[in-house]
Symmetry: C2
Subunit: 322 residues, 2 copies
């Protein structure tokens, strides 16, 4: 699995998360195991466990203590990815066929349910009321974010408030929880738990905006999936909303954005119209603001090498091309 | 909502579960609330909360203590129903259009996820490690049962062992958990918690077999949904497995059972072939054995009116027509 150099501090722990997850999703029913392991093998950045492990490192927490939390969070994340795939028009995630493409909707649903149920077993074992409460709340909010996305697909009248509502729930809250819980189970001081959670939240917002920008601007070979997926699925993202405000051809852009079943040419044309505005630059400017905000929260934390790793991670989020 | 007279002891509590559930699934996103409330309004027997409440009544537990547990269990059940509907060919459940029929697969997936996430909030609030552990284990096993059902659809070579594996996980384990948890949070003696769990398990097995029989023999007007759904979906149930063993026309029956996209005539013909064997009677005989077993477990419990209610409930499961 591709490891970011930023994770040097926690490389062996991350590898252990990987190994433990693979063993943990073993079932007595091959099809479930196949699809779950297939998902794991697709790799992925394992960002979320990384945040948890790094947050715990501030306080010298043992791997034993952090492992179940990191695993539970990654299982929740994987579960949501699989369920999103049920209607995701994109046929590849991270360059491999999705569970959906291989075996159909219902297996996607059940695989997602299975991964979530396994996370519940870990959460029960962790037996920490606040951990359970935070994860339950995040799960509820993630559903609300996803539903809002479904409800507002191809709705070109969406505003920024709706966009922030959605990316907060789809992405930022879970990343915030990763940071917070790593600190929480390490019995960090409350103020620092809060600071790490706030760092994670700002970083999560930045992360999703970059994702949304890359979906328009990335090179497919680096991205691991075709670009323009949001356009095809009618997911209105920040660059699109901003472009509508400033495009010299707003009517044309609006029509294209709202069009279901766009042709490849129409996708390319829409991308061109968006790029012709300042929307991409403005989006990345907002990313910078969030990254600055994230780094500011880190000031409340002990000045140890781990803090530098988190600062570097924040910067990397902004400049990444995948 | 239609209440069974058997629930007289707990009628007001059941009504309260209903009301609390409706309030609890309120969200800030109408589509989710609409679909969740739509599901609740479809009624349903509310058997699972009833088991929990009755089990708690043995020990004089307050409604306040039992309510979150009863609600969590019903939410888990509803979540699984909604996810099952993603590929359920049956267009009605309890006589109303399914969430799927109205709004599409993805809303079904997210509604199910939302209901499960809400149950997690309750479980976190209950903050009882054994409750969390039991519910997590049941959730994992329910997924395994559902996946096995998917994997083995239209597989006419299935045996009884596979059938029992499936109905244990799809139905019996959750009903067992309902009884067990009602007693557990009531701080019942361990032996009685076990006895109630064993009662629930045997009753759950009986309940599912009756469901499977009714799918073949019921009058649609009483059943609340078209009969023959299992046949159409290729779910091999006990009456079918038994009929294959004893039918004078095994080849014909096998072909029909294994046929995807059966015509209405073919469904009717298959039903006729099954009914022409002793399979229905044999299935009901097994139901009687399970009911007897369930009632036997009740002997370990205090001889109070609640015990009589549970005995009557066991008998009712066997004789019901819906």
């Amino acid at each position: 699995m591709k490891q970011l150099w930023l994770f040097n501090q926690i490389n062996s722990d991350l590898q252990r998360v990987e190994n433990e997850l693979t063993k943990f999703v073993e079932t007595d029913y091959p099809i479930l195991q196949d699809s779950a392991v297939h998902l794991l093998a697709a790799g992925g950045k394992r960002l979320r466990p990384a945040f948890t492990l790094l947050a715990g490192k501030f306080y010298g927490s043992s791997s034993e203590k952090l492992m179940p939390v990191a695993m539970a969070l990654e299982l929740i994340h994987m579960s949501s990815l699989v369920h999103d795939d049920v209607v995701d028009a994109s046929m590849t995630r991270r360059g491999r066929p999705t569970v959906k493409a291989n075996w159909g909707n219902i297996v996607s649903v059940e695989t997602g349910d299975y991964l979530l149920a396994k996370s519940l077993m870990l959460i029960a074992k962790i037996d920490h009321p606040e951990v359970s409460r935070i994860l339950a709340e995040v799960s509820v909010e993630m559903c609300q974010g996803e539903i809002q996305q479904i409800k507002s697909s191809f709705d070109v009248e969406q505003n920024l408030k709706q966009y922030y509502y959605r990316i907060k729930r789809k992405t930022a809250m879970l990343i915030s929880a990763c940071c917070k819980l790593g600190a929480l189970v390490s019995e960090a001081p409350r103020r620092q738990i809060w600071a790490l959670g706030a760092y994670g939240h700002s970083l999560g917002m930045a992360f999703q905006i970059v994702d949304d920008v890359l979906d328009i601007t990335a090179k497919p070979s680096e991205f691991g999936k075709p670009i323009g997926g949001d356009l095809r699925q009618g997911i209105m993202t920040l660059p699109m909303i901003l472009a509508l405000k400033s495009s010299p051809e707003p009517g044309k852009l609006k029509t294209l954005l709202g069009k279901v079943d766009k042709t490849e040419d129409e996708v390319a044309e829409t991308i061109g119209l968006i790029k012709a505005t300042g929307a991409i630059d403005d989006s990345m400017h907002l990313v910078d603001l969030y990254v600055k905000k994230a780094k500011k929260h880190l000031q409340d934390l002990p000045k140890v090498p781990t803090r530098k790793a988190l600062e570097d991670l924040a910067e990397f989020i902004a400049v990444r091309k995948f």
